[in-house]
Amino acid sequence: MGEPLPKPRAMPHAEWRKVPKWRVRYSAECIDCGLCIPACPYGVHRRAPGSLRLGIPDDFGCLGPACEQAHPAGPEAVFQEGFCVRQCPTSAIALEKNPEWQTLGDPRWSADLLFATWTAAETGRYPAAGFEVRVGDSGGGFDRLRFKFKRSRHERARDTELEAIDTAIPLARRKEGPRLQIPVPWYGGGMSYGSVGLNVMLSRAKAARAWRTFTCTGEGGYPQELLAYKDCVITQIATGMFGVSETTVQAARILEIKYAQGAKPGLGGHLLADKNTGAVAAMRETVAGISLFSPFPFHSVYSVEDHRKHVDWLRAMNPRALVSAKVSTPTDVDMVAVGCYYGGVDILHLDGAYGGTGAAPDIAKKNIAMPLEFAIPKVHRFLQAEGIRDEITVIASGGVRSAHDIAKAIALGADGVVLGTSELVALNCTRCGNCESGRGCQHGIASTDPELNALWDADWGAQRISNLYHALRLELAEILWRLGLPSVQALRGRTDVLYHLDRLPPP
């Protein structure tokens, strides 16, 4: 597997705390005996040095009643030591669901997923139990797919077993041309300068470099600061071609042609006036304070032979780069895929409808095009029948939130995925949905406002994203281990290890 992958490093946030799922309270019966302190492996109960009284419990680490099943020392340990509520000699510990919890999240990004992702970004691991990180609450899409595991969830892999599982995928698969492999089956999706601030772009670039994978400029120019990371930054060429010049095309190892976006197929990129600040306008060489729209099509690409010419053009400017085509998932997406391949594309990026930030119009989000879980196998099988599946990399994106989503996309036939919102959640995004307004993002993520951007720096952000990557890799390796597969490439197209809740009874 080459060089070792980065290790996680604790990276909480100094200013904000998460919304805890559980509330731990001591009643008046508490005698401050402290038996609960060793009972909790997550440090919820604590006592300041020298103090006789217990401190305020740290709810954020609490897994709730689920911790009984997930004691790091094994289930027997719980019986011996019991969990805190049962351990308390005076029954003074009350554990209750935090009423604020229900304000958190939405069906796609459930409160559990948000919280678990924050934990992963802080610690490099998902919570051991007590949080549903396999699916959200949407009731559709990936949330209705389950794996048929060979090993039960109670079996635990040894760390060495998980490390031995190969999660690398090649991005270049044609017989000729450059070789390129990434050690994890994902890279970062396009987010423009303007849609997010420079700190977000740099955080993602730094994390991508640490993990030897990629992130993408989006369509808002190529900030100078990003040039230092050009080996792991994809230059996106979208329909407005803001900031696309020969220099930025030649800087990249991967060029991404954005034909469409799954969250809003048929619409171009748009940046509402509030976010088009002086700095953003300068980067795009436009006028500040005006909404910026990219056209919905490429005005120079209205057919497949135009597409080939377009790819040839990029190759004329940069013969060494891989070319990726990002498309949405219309019903004839298989034809689009084949057309992309014959047009010379190396990476076909299928963008489904479950993604998109608050800036994508609601009327478009989730309402247009074919669901991603149908599009991936359609394309995969069509390319197989065409005999060209192993000469093109298929990347899926649009609502990929977790390692389970990654594994499902790959089992359906993709080679890997692109992450977008998950990385923002790692930066503390709460999915409040105010992304389109200039100062609407209280976390300084979807904003270029200097004051908001100053809330955190890129090194913090990079480590958070890196921690998330670590957690994702670990979780993905465990899924593969439980499926009895040696590598992520062996999972591709294995729809037989999946079942759909509507179709098959669980095995």
Partner: protein, 792 residues
């Protein structure tokens, strides 16, 4: 009105199709991509080799999965018949994919239905694999036929309820008889249940279609048509998306009755158009939108008998401001046509070339029609040697004018790329015909417009004259070759090389590999582009990049012919490129510094994302000129086609001396021109020779000007104040201020130096010297509330 017209009404014709076998199980539509198309019509027969040259120039627009030809105005002798048979008989061409099918096909669909006056096969050139074809082309047999009287009588009795009253009516029913016979044959032997053994290629009089799985020029080679002469040709390179199993039946052209059609594009409303046709008992069998297009065309022209103008209107309706500008009588007719055909109008992008042969009228026609938004590339060209005899020769008006025994040779051409037209003309010269490149005139159609209707029609009639008209019947005129400033065009390539005798090195593709660095910075590399591939690693553009890497800074490229991406890949460069010939698409797209000069017209996608540097075009530019450009100083002698400067930002500074088709500077975002931003100057004149020009009717005919623009400005030379607010969508007309004039004057002076169009003459109108503010207007963006920062 004669009774025939009433009795043979379209409804009866359509009703007669109700008994046809239904279209077999409809699979999904074959995904159709774009394509390369070329068509020509001359008043003298020209050889297939010329069409092959045009087709092979656009090989990169196809993928070898389908090529085809339509040929009309043929020479009877070459087909082994006399002229009367060629004109009077249906030329039934049947492709046999399986040799054994022939017996059954003939026994059911040929012998009992038709009197066969002559028949034969097209000789083929041996092993198709030697020509690089994966799928063997079909065996093609031709039958010169007329319907058997008894069979036709029975057909009429059944569907018309009687025998036809007159010859005209009988011909109409014989057409339908032939048409339905072909449909039955195709349904039985091609479309049904995956069994593909034979299909009808064409069945018109004096019109032949050939097609195969391969490239169009392969058809010419395989069927030995290099020296075959005909007046009317169309060729088509297909680029279907799915790549594996192909049948020649899916290749273009497709036929209606008297016409063959090729298509570049893709319908958005295929299913709806199919429904429209099915309601009229017309079932497509080949599952491509091209077949559907020609079925529509046949329905409207033959069954409904729309005049050509209205059939074109039904295809590509006139809308918005263009409709308002039509004369009221046309508006009424067009509104009626639009209402009737709304459900059948194909929704673009598309560009059609149609070849029509109407031997009864002794008329051959070639027409090109573009969709309303002009989303596919298209170039028209005309060369008429009549001007040589009479300098004021005006085409179209000629018919009524001078008497001449033999009309002078004339040719009209339509293609996806200008360079393909030039290749055809060059090859015609080689073949000993009097034509030569460049054509006398090149132009584009403005889709769905009041100005030309988005279509041009070349016609050769019984007198042997070639006329060119737009949709409304207005003639396209030429009075000699368009004046050119290009050195190579006027003096030839040898003269060019000689003129550059001081240069250190002249190189062709053969010597490209061994090239070494220059003696000094001033050395110029003269490159004969002829043998370089059009693109790719060994292509001309890549060679320039390679030589640039070796230190060459000055280039002179000649004999370019469709070479793409010239000037791309140089990075931030100090380079000087002179380009002669017909360069291909994406010229200088990405240029960042340096100078590129094109001594001719350039094609589509010139100067995309141009960052800085200078671009001089001694001719026209094609579609999406300077799309998303960031800067640069650009001078264009002629016109720009559709969508120039869309999404341009930063500080591009552009002079277009001609005009633009439509959508000029949509979403223009180039700051404030008076504070370093960008602008476009459109002079609205037509260059007519050194220091002379003629005024265009309007500097800008389109209805979409500066739409949703938020920055920059457009300066129009518009002394008549022809530009009105109804052309704007988000901009407004402002007066030219002194500082505006100070801004554009240096550009206009440079324009004068380059093209000889003097600032003085631009400030003169109807013999009167104007103040700058009288001659020019300025279009500035308005702040749209919907697009601006919300304020309480």
């Amino acid at each position: 009105m004669p009774s025939a017209v009433k009795d043979s009404n379209p409804e009866l014709l359509l009703a007669s199709r109700a008994s046809l076998p239904p279209a077999p199980q409809q699979g999904p539509r074959e995904a159709e991509g774009g394509c390369g198309v070329v068509g020509l019509l001359a008043n003298c027969a020209v050889p297939g080799s010329a069409v092959a040259a045009g087709c092979s120039a656009m090989r990169n627009r196809g993928n070898g999965k389908g090529g085809g030809l339509a040929i009309g105005g043929m020479e009877a002798g070459a087909l082994g018949v006399d002229a009367a048979t060629l004109r009077g008989d249906y030329l039934l061409a049947i492709a046999y994919l399986e040799a054994e099918a022939r017996e059954a096909v003939e026994a059911e669909f040929v012998r009992p239905q038709f009197e066969v006056h002559a028949e034969g096969r097209f000789e083929t050139a041996g092993d198709p694999r030697a020509l690089g074809m994966e799928v063997a082309p079909p065996e093609v047999r031709r039958y010169f036929v007329r319907a058997r009287a008894a069979a036709l009588d029975a057909f009429c009795r059944e569907h018309l309820g009687r025998l036809p009253h007159d010859r005209l009516e009988r011909e109409r029913w014989e057409d339908e008889f032939v048409y339905q016979n072909s449909y039955r044959l195709n349904a039985r032997h091609y479309a049904s249940l995956g069994k593909k053994s034979a299909f009808v290629l064409s069945h018109a009089k004096d019109l032949l279609v050939l097609k195969l799985v391969g490239y169009a020029e392969d058809a010419i080679k395989y069927y030995g048509l290099e020296d075959f002469r005909a007046k009317l040709w169309i060729g088509h390179q297909r680029y279907p998306t799915k790549g594996r199993v192909w049948h020649p039946g899916g290749a273009h052209p497709f036929i209606g009755m008297h016409e063959a059609l090729v298509h570049n594009g893709d319908f958005a409303n295929y299913a709806r158009v199919v429904k429209y046709l099915k309601q009229r008992h017309i079932a497509p069998l080949f599952l491509t939108d091209t077949e559907v297009s020609v079925l529509l065309f046949d329905l409207w022209t033959r069954v409904y008998r729309y005049p050509l103008e209205l059939a074109i209107e039904a295809m590509g309706p006139t809308t918005e401001r263009d409709f308002e500008l039509l004369p009221p009588s046309r508006q009424a007719a067009y509104r009626a046509v639009q209402t009737a055909s709304m459900k059948g109008s194909p929704d673009g992008p598309w560009f059609f070339i149609v070849a029509r042969s109407e031997t009864g009228e002794r008329r051959l026609q070639l027409l090109g029609v573009t969709d309303t938004s002009m989303l596919r590339p298209q170039v028209f060209a005309l060369q008429d040697l009549g001007w040589r005899e009479s300098p004021t020769f005006v085409l179209g008006k000629a018919a009524r004018g001078e008497k001449r025994n033999e009309p002078a040779p004339a040719i009209g051409l339509i293609a996806s790329e200008k360079q393909a037209i030039d290749r055809v003309l060059t090859q015609l010269r080689v073949a000993g015909l009097p034509f030569q490149k460049p054509a006398d005139r090149y132009w584009n159609a403005r889709g769905g417009s009041y100005s030309d209707g988005g279509a041009f029609i070349f016609t050769v009639d019984g007198t042997g004259r070639l006329t060119a008209t737009d949709k409304f019947g207005a003639a396209v005129t030429v009075s000699g070759p368009e004046p050119k400033l290009g050195l190579a065009e006027s003096k030839g390539a040898e003269a060019l090389v000689e003129a550059r005798a001081h240069t250190q090195m002249t190189i062709s593709a053969a010597g490209a590999a061994g090239i070494k660095g220059p003696r000094d910075e001033a050395s110029e590399l003269v490159v004969d582009a002829a043998e370089f591939p059009l693109e790719g690693r060994a292509g001309l553009a890549a060679f320039v990049v390679h030589a640039y890497g070796l230190g060459w800074r000055r280039f002179c490229l000649f004999n370019t012919s469709g070479h793409r991406f010239i000037g791309c890949g140089l990075g931030a460069a100090k380079v000087e490129i002179d380009c002669h010939g017909s360069p291909g698409d994406y010229l200088a797209s990405g240029l960042d510094g340096g100078t590129v000069r094109v001594f001719n017209s350039a094609q589509d996608q010139v100067g995309q994302i141009l960052k800085s540097g200078r671009l001089v075009i001694y001719g026209d530019v094609g579609q999406t000129f300077m799309y998303a450009a960031k800067g640069g100083e650009v001078f264009v002698l002629g016109n720009a086609a559709g969508r120039p400067l869309i999404n341009a930002v930063g500080r591009p500074r552009v002079i277009i001396n001609g005009t633009c088709l439509d959508y000029l500077a949509e979403s223009f975002m180039a700051g404030d021109p008076l504070r370093g931003g960008g602008f476009v100057v459109v002079n609205g004149v037509r260059y007519t020779g050194p220091a002379s020009f003629e005024e265009l009717e309007t500097p800008y005919p389109g209805g979409n000007l500066f739409s949703l623009a938020s920055g920059g400005a457009i300066y129009f030379r518009d002394p008549r104040r022809a530009i009105g607010p109804d052309q704007l969508n988000g901009g407004k007309i402002a007066d030219l201020a002194t500082e505006d004039w100070e801004l554009i004057r240096p550009m206009l002076e440079e324009n004068e130096r380059l093209f000889g169009i003097t600032v003085d003459s631009l400030l003169t109108f109807e013999g009167r010297k104007l103040k700058p503010a009288e001659a020019y207007i300025k279009i500035i963006p308005t702040k749209l509330r919907a697009l601006s920062v919300a304020h309480d």
